[in-house]
Amino acid sequence: MEPAAAIPAIEFRNVSYGIAGTQVLSGFNLQVESGETLVLLGRSGSGKTTSLKLVNRLLSPTSGDVLVNGVSNGEGDVIHLRRSIGYVIQDVGLFPHFTVERNIGLVPKIEGWPADRIRARVQELLQTVGLTPDFTSRYPHQLSGGQRQRVGVARALAADPEILLMDEPFGALDPLTRDELQHEFLALQQRLHKTVVFVTHDLREALRLGSRIALMEAGRLVTVLSPRAFLESSDPLASAYVRAFGEGLESSANRGTS
């Protein structure tokens, strides 16, 4: 029996975005299913970060519509929208004058959670991202790059959002740490089943983490494929990527489940 079609968690309907005379995104159509890890893969200028920012309304489309859980995200309270979506960026952006605890607990605090609930949640999240409880009183400048990004992820998960947006979150880390965090991300996703939109230019990372890969070039969606299908694709751009990344990609392809 065919399962009833579920409403996609995120949907881009004919979305275009232009600024200062440049078309950054055109005719973008994409559906992101609930619980999947959708990777936006492309080079700089392909429009992948722009697409991400259209989801939490940091940018507004010049035409077309972006829907979150079936409702256009242009209607309703944008603050409420953003607080219900986790956002992780490459430079992390931890507040340097807050402790780790205050950083992670910020959204719960402004949402009015009681103090002890916040404290408990922070402890829980530290464990989830692989940090020990003594990290609560440390300041960002006392942390390594990897530790900072773990806190960044914890912060994004604090209010338990359904959707997580990640913009090249591991791009600034050394290869060893990056590998660790990718591994932990997969484990996390196995447990939490969040809807994740993940931006990267690294095919290896895309193959490893994504349930589907949306290839973007010059503001357009080229193709959307599963990791396996991507490796075997005859699409010229996709195969160019595969060639560019060289050997041993099969082992990266879809370590996780979708």
Partner: protein
């Protein structure tokens, strides 16, 4: 030393003039902060206005203080009482460092921090008060420090138009050709500037973001 004996003998007047001086500097600095900091915040967020605002404040700064006092004397209400005039002029002089440092301080906040904050769902006000201002406060204070030191200096000239303060000792001493009187005004004024510079500087260092 002669001067210090003179100051001790006339300590009540020295104190009174110092208090007058502090009133002039205090009121004008607070006014400049009340106007300049919000203005600095506005132009930091809307860079379109930063050139006209900064340029205007700059022009005001280049007017010699005695000339500015002179311009304002015929103005109704303001010109009738020299303290009002002096406080108004001192406020104008304090604006540039305060506006400019607020602007620089807020623009200097790491854009990644602002983006993360906005993306997390902080309102613009929450972003301002919980993130941008605390991170910019040290730079803003440095602007306040410059403003205070300038004010202490310009306020001595305000005595020329009858606004009182330590400058009055200086002008009176010049008329009396009495160095002790001049120094009884000049030394406390210099000390005031140093104390203010040191005090606000200490606060700046304490509040520097890590």
């Amino acid at each position: 030393m002669n001067v210090f004996r003179f100051i001790l003998q006339n300590h009540s007047q020295v104190l009174e003039l110092t208090l007058e001086h502090l009133r002039l500097v205090g009121f004008s600095t607070l006014l400049a902060m009340a106007v300049g900091i919000p203005l600095g915040i506005v132009i930091a967020h809307r860079p379109r206005f930063n050139k006209p605002v900064l340029a205007s404040a700059n022009i005001i700064q280049t007017i010699p203080s005695l000339a500015l006092f002179g311009f304002l004397l015929p103005v109704p209400w303001l010109g009738e009482r020299s303290e009002r005039l002096a406080i108004f002029a001192l406020t104008l002089y304090a604006l540039l460092p305060i506006i400019r440092n607020t602007y620089t301080g807020i623009r200097g906040v790491d854009p990644a921090v602002v983006e993360a904050g906005r993306g997390m769902g902080l309102t613009e006000l929450q972003l301002l008060f919980q993130v941008e201002l605390p991170l910019a406060v040290s730079v803003i204070l440095s602007g306040v420090r410059v403003a205070v030191v300038i004010s202490v200096g310009v306020a001595t000239i305000a005595a020329a138009i009858g606004a009182g303060g330590l400058g009055e000792f200086i002008f009176r001493g010049l008329a009396m050709v009495d160095n002790r009187v001049i120094l009884a005004g000049a030394i406390p004024a210099a000390l005031l500037a140093l104390v203010a510079d040191f005090g606000v500087g200490w606060l700046e260092r304490r509040l520097q973001p890590r």
